[in-house]
Symmetry: C2
């Protein structure tokens, strides 16, 4: 064993009985993976991690190789991975057991073993801090929506009870079948926040999800209780919205349109893409998996419509050399819809 790997922080030993040499915050459910390999008589195991956890891949592979028979090959996906919508289908098709870490199932499949990687950070101190500050107190407004991400779903009922004990009426929803759990949000889907309350409490790390939520539900106050960065803030989507309007205006003069169909398993909207191309002689269907400024630069179109991940459009859009619109924004740019119908693009269903 190398020095470098010894330096990795010790892992969470509670559930596996194995000596993990990685982050103690996550349980990789190695016993479940080993069991599955044995049950299926698998010879190949594929591991896929989200970007932020790829560095843990070698450590997890080490632990698996220690427990698995010598003739079982472990492979790690090097493809970018930004969600449960973003499975490495190449590796999935070519391995007997394919493990997808860090996201909840968008669609169940015998082929895929989903390991959710629940965070064990304590969420309650930061929720408490939000109450009566950014989140209106129960006296002012007792109705509150509650949403979180896959990483904290294991605490969801406790969060609800905590808020109820404080005197709130907690509104939750499951959303559509793209979402696995009650109260869960994805970067592209906030149906679980479509509830009868003017304020929504988002519990989770980072601003990616709550900013989408604030774009989708512009009439609601979105309070972020971030237990990872230990901060309470309000999600402010104004900058994003300004950029959306600017992009739509710029695209109004476009004389050539690249219509992107994303080939990632959970990011394809074929009908939307096809409809645009069928009705516009200046539109060209372009198929790709990763949608990047470099790749589109080569085509030199005046504007693009992205039918893939909406967050590439809203979050990365300004980095592209030409305006990139959502399918709804495209309709505004070509005059089919009024400007005041501009809304956040959401993604529904699975595949």
């Amino acid at each position: 064993m190398s020095q470098q790997r010894n330096d990795r922080p010790d892992g969470d030993l509670r559930n596996t009985g194995m000596s993990l040499r990685h982050d103690r915050e996550w349980d990789y459910e190695l016993d479940r993976i080993v069991e599955e390999v044995e049950e299926r008589g698998a010879e190949t195991v594929g591991l896929q991690f989200p970007e932020g956890l790829k560095r843990r891949g070698p450590g997890v592979a080490d632990d698996l190789r220690e427990s698995l028979p010598d003739d079982v090959s472990v492979m790690i996906s090097g493809q970018p991975c930004y969600g449960a919508c973003d499975l490495d289908t190449y590796l999935m098709k070519r391995t007997d057991v394919f493990v997808h870490f860090g996201h909840s199932p968008m669609k169940d499949s015998n082929k895929i073993l989903y390991v959710p990687l629940f965070s064990n950070v304590d969420v309650f101190p930061i929720i408490e801090e939000a109450i009566g500050n950014q989140l209106a107190s129960p006296d002012e407004d007792p109705d509150v929506g509650l949403v979180t991400t896959a990483q904290h779903m294991n605490k969801f009922e406790e969060m609800r009870e905590f808020l109820e004990d404080e005197g709130y009426t907690v509104h939750t929803r499951r959303g559509d079948d793209r979402l696995t759990h009650e109260g869960q949000v994805l970067g592209c889907n906030y149906e679980s926040a479509d509830i009868d309350a003017d304020q929504v409490l988002y519990v989770g790390g980072g601003k990616f999800h709550p900013l989408g939520l604030a774009m989708e539900h512009q009439d609601k106050n979105v309070v972020i209780a971030d237990p990872v960065n230990n901060a309470v803030t309000i999600a402010d989507a104004e900058q994003f919205l300004k950029e959306r309007y600017a992009s739509v205006h710029k695209a109004m003069d476009a004389e050539s349109w690249g219509v992107i169909f994303c080939t990632k398993i959970g990011q394809g909207r074929w009908e939307e893409a096809q409809e645009i191309v069928d009705n516009n002689d200046d539109a060209y269907l372009i198929t790709m998996d990763e949608i990047t400024p470099d790749r589109l630069l080569n085509f030199g179109m005046d504007a693009y419509v992205n039918t893939g991940c909406p967050r590439i459009t809203t979050d990365d859009g300004p980095q592209f050399h030409a305006p990139m619109l959502t399918p709804g924004e495209y309709k505004i740019a070509i005059g089919e819809k009024p400007l005041d119908e501009l809304e956040f693009d959401t993604f529904h269903g699975t595949w």
Copy 2:
């Protein structure tokens, strides 16, 4: 039709009978594509262009749509494409006719229509300029190897005759089955230059191919006659070779190895990758299509072995955060082979 597309330069009308609105240097063989669509009763057509020609995609799509029935959908691949080894298999599997432009067939398939895009630049003035200058005159050394790329293969026999008329003995070879034509080189395969001559004349644009040739055949003088940039030069691989030695030395201390298996259809060397991982407990198999510094940075390994495209290793290697070696260089770094056996990594066979 938009103003922008009218501004595109006129096309080559000689072979198609159609009004092309693009580069006059290429014949996209639109009639052959239309014929194939009719014969197969195709409903979907996929087009794949190399990076440098992607900008022509919309123009070619326009022309095809004008000639094809309205219910035929034309799609353009947005995936990067660096050779005949790099087919967009997603689009290939999902379209009735799949057209790959700009490369000669690495392997024939009923599914794929290869359109070679022969350059119509005049190659002979620059060959003439090379003779007796960088290329030894027939009196000094009558033996010369002749190689070129897919773009100029249509002139190969004329080039040979031209050199023979000048008094040379021209040596040519077909190489292995990765190469379609006698005298053809690829960035990863220079078997066609494995001939009995101390000097090789490369006719073609750019330095990418002749630099590989100079790395592979370090004992030969590689003269570049570049009709595109109108320049005669000698291919000097010294900088590349220095970088190779530096990378090998740096990797000698590595305690963790990422072994990359490239999932592109013509860039996979499974046995090589598997062999390394089977024999080194500190090696981890990583599967991916595009091999980029960003993607590998996430894994944080000490060194990488790239069993995919050798040119990513030699040309882009220094841009990666950790040393990246070819499979042969890896053997040197771990002490299985002496340093003086360092040689250029070549790719053989098809898939």
